[in-house]
């Protein structure tokens, strides 16, 4: 017997009590799993097709992607991260993550279930693990996040020339700022109040005034790329699954840009 999550209608179950979690709590764990390329949770992107938990605590999550040929390396990261997040949910005895309708479904599902690592799951097609790839995309997220934080500052009248002298602590708190701090921390870059707002995401060095214009231009460009890419992925997913919402799916509002 299983119970299914239906978009937000089920409670998380008794907090802290022994026994299996409700699907909503597993779904909450999945909200921490991001598409590394789009820097958004798999839930809000609509990638979670279903989520069930048996009374014995066996959780099964089915993931779906916008196309049959979505990049297998990113797919692997999402399935592996989902496995870790669901396994770590209190009360879950066993986690199973199933990627549906993908050309590499078998290799990815089998590899993650066996804790085999990426290179072993794709024997002969990959020579290493995916840490560096993930870091590359975190750096892109930092650049995009820099635009998300700086644009409102500039709109509010902040002089662009003052940005290189600002610290994170001097920026008014916002969700975008919090996200930028988290991405920087994940990369091991300075993220505290006294850290510079503008840094090179590769070296962590502060951005000098003479490269300010280029830095802000690249930040804006990176954000555009990431968000336009996300919008195409969402459009393809909607078409592929005939507009059926995933669990925790949040349509992207163009107004939010």
């Amino acid at each position: 017997m299983t119970v299914s999550a239906t978009s937000g209608s089920r409670s998380a179950g008794p907090g802290g009590a022994a026994g299996p979690p409700g699907p909503a709590r597993v779904l909450a764990a999945l909200e921490t799993v991001r598409d590394p390329e789009l820097d958004e949770p798999v839930t809000s992107l609509g990638f979670v097709a279903s989520c069930t938990v048996t009374p014995d605590g066996d959780a099964q999550v089915r993931l779906r992607l916008p196309t049959y040929f979505c990049a297998p390396n990113f797919a692997f990261l999402m399935v592996a991260d989902a496995y870790d997040a669901v396994s770590a949910t209190p009360g879950v005895r066993r986690a199973e993550i199933v990627l549906e309708d993908h050309f590499a479904s078998d290799a990815i599902n089998g590899g993650v279930a066996a804790r085999a690592g990426f290179a072993q799951s794709f024997d002969g097609e990959a020579v290493g693990e995916l840490h560096e790839l993930r870091a590359d995309f975190l750096r892109k997220a930092v650049m995009a996040g820099t635009d998300q934080v700086c644009r409102p500052l500039l709109a509010a009248g902040t002089d662009p020339a003052s940005l290189p002298g600002m610290t994170l602590g001097e920026v008014p708190p916002s969700a975008a700022l919090q996200r930028l701090r988290e991405r920087r921390a994940e990369l091991g870059l300075p993220a505290g109040d006294d850290a510079w707002l503008l840094i090179d995401p590769k070296t962590g060095e502060p951005v000098r005034p003479d490269s300010l214009r280029m830095h802000l231009g690249r930040a804006r460009l990176t954000r555009t790329s990431l968000e336009a890419n996300g919008s195409i992925c969402r459009g393809m997913l909607e078409h592929r699954y005939d507009n059926t919402a995933g669990l925790g799916h949040k349509p992207q509002a163009e107004e939010d840009q």
């Binding site: 390396n73 290179a119 693990e129 500039l154 555009t224 890419n229 459009g235 078409h239 592929r240």
Partner: protein
């Protein structure tokens, strides 16, 4: 030819197809890939206006008459460039080969340009085939699909020594234009499949070849733009940008266009409908009418009639030596920029508000 408000536009569709992806062309044992591929393409069509959507059956295999009507009669296109995509591991006769394109095009003289392709993993026989195709079809361009599967390999890089050998051969045969498409299965899988840095190397090492990056390197627009701004012979192929964003996501479309105009510039952007994914008619009508939707885009370069004339046809006409009648030329005496703005950073004439 498209005419609006007294302005006449010469239209070159620089990226379109004539494919057969119906089950009669699926390779036994690889049906799931053949089916997955065409369904993936079909989902892209879902991003266009609903009245332009096709059934999957029609989408798998459209006829010569369909193409001529959609592209030329209804679609305003003056000259179309066939871009082949072979995918013979999945499609028995190939998805969309040079031969198939030319066999159809021969009944419509003057309408088509036949690009061909190569795959560096094919070695000497591949070089022979390239030579034969250039001689037979007069190809001035090739379409390369670096993620194509080939005999156990899941892709290659354009900076590989084998690829350089083919680029040299192509150049010696008179090829000018290298259209490149990136896909998600390049080997090795632990790297970024869409990485465009290999094109950066080639563009530097082959300054007399033009590299048209189709779909502007999507999903890596940022890497593509940053490369294109430094390499005078790198162009932005707008297939997918107009078809995939203009109708479905108009604000993202405005932002992407703004970035491309800023980093790459209107002299190095070319229209391609990506037919049969999308019909050209609505794309051309919409693009001619298009402007930034609001003041929030004031940082970006402006667009005017000349911008659109260049992008819709004059730039590609220059790349392919297509003669354009005087009535379609730029009024102010300017000329399309393709290859004449070498060394000019695209942003030299704009100030960013950043």
């Amino acid at each position: 030819m498209y005419e609006k408000d007294g302005e006449k536009y010469f239209v070159v569709d620089s990226h379109m197809h004539y494919w057969n992806a119906a089950p009669d062309n699926w390779v036994k044992g690889a049906e799931q890939y053949a089916k997955g591929w065409i369904e993936c393409f079909h989902a892209y069509q879902g991003l266009g206006p609903p009245e332009t959507h096709w059934s999957i059956e029609h989408f798998q295999k459209y006829s010569e008459d369909d193409l001529m009507k959609d592209v030329f009669e209804d679609g305003y296109v003056d000259v179309a460039v066939f871009q082949p995509t072979y995918l013979k591991e999945w499609y028995s006769e190939g998805f969309n080969t040079t031969e198939r394109n030319a066999e159809m095009g021969k009944r419509h003289p003057g309408k088509f340009i036949y690009n061909t392709r190569f795959d560096p993993r094919d070695g000497d026989p591949g070089l022979e085939e390239l030579k034969k195709n250039v001689e037979t079809y007069g190809s001035k361009g090739v379409k390369l699909y670096t993620a194509e599967w080939n005999n156990g390999s899941r892709g290659y890089k354009l900076s590989d020594p084998g690829a350089y050998r083919f680029l040299e051969a192509a150049q010696n045969l008179g090829i000018k234009n290298i259209h490149v498409h990136k896909g998600p299965t390049i080997w090795p899988l632990d790297k970024d499949a869409f990485d465009v840095s290999d094109i950066d190397h080639c563009a530097t090492d082959f300054p007399d070849l033009n590299f048209i990056v189709e779909h502007v390197g999507l999903p890596r627009i940022e890497d593509f733009c940053f490369m294109a701004t430094q390499e005078p012979n790198v162009y932005a192929g707008l297939s997918v940008v107009i078809g995939g964003l203009m109708y479905a996501r108009p604000k993202f479309f405005a932002r992407v266009m703004g970035e491309l105009l800023f980093w790459v510039g209107e002299d190095k952007m070319t229209f391609g409908s990506d037919y049969g994914i999308w019909e050209p008619k609505w794309q051309i009508e919409g693009f001619v009418d298009w402007d930034y939707p609001s003041d929030e885009f004031s940082d970006f370069p402006r667009v005017n009639t000349d911008t659109k004339k260049k992008i819709l046809g004059l730039n590609a006409a220059k790349l392919y030596d297509i003669e354009v009648p005087a009535e379609f030329q730029l009024k102010n005496g300017g000329t399309p920029g393709a290859q004449e703005v070498l060394g000019q950073p695209a942003d030299a004439h704009v100030a960013t508000g950043a």
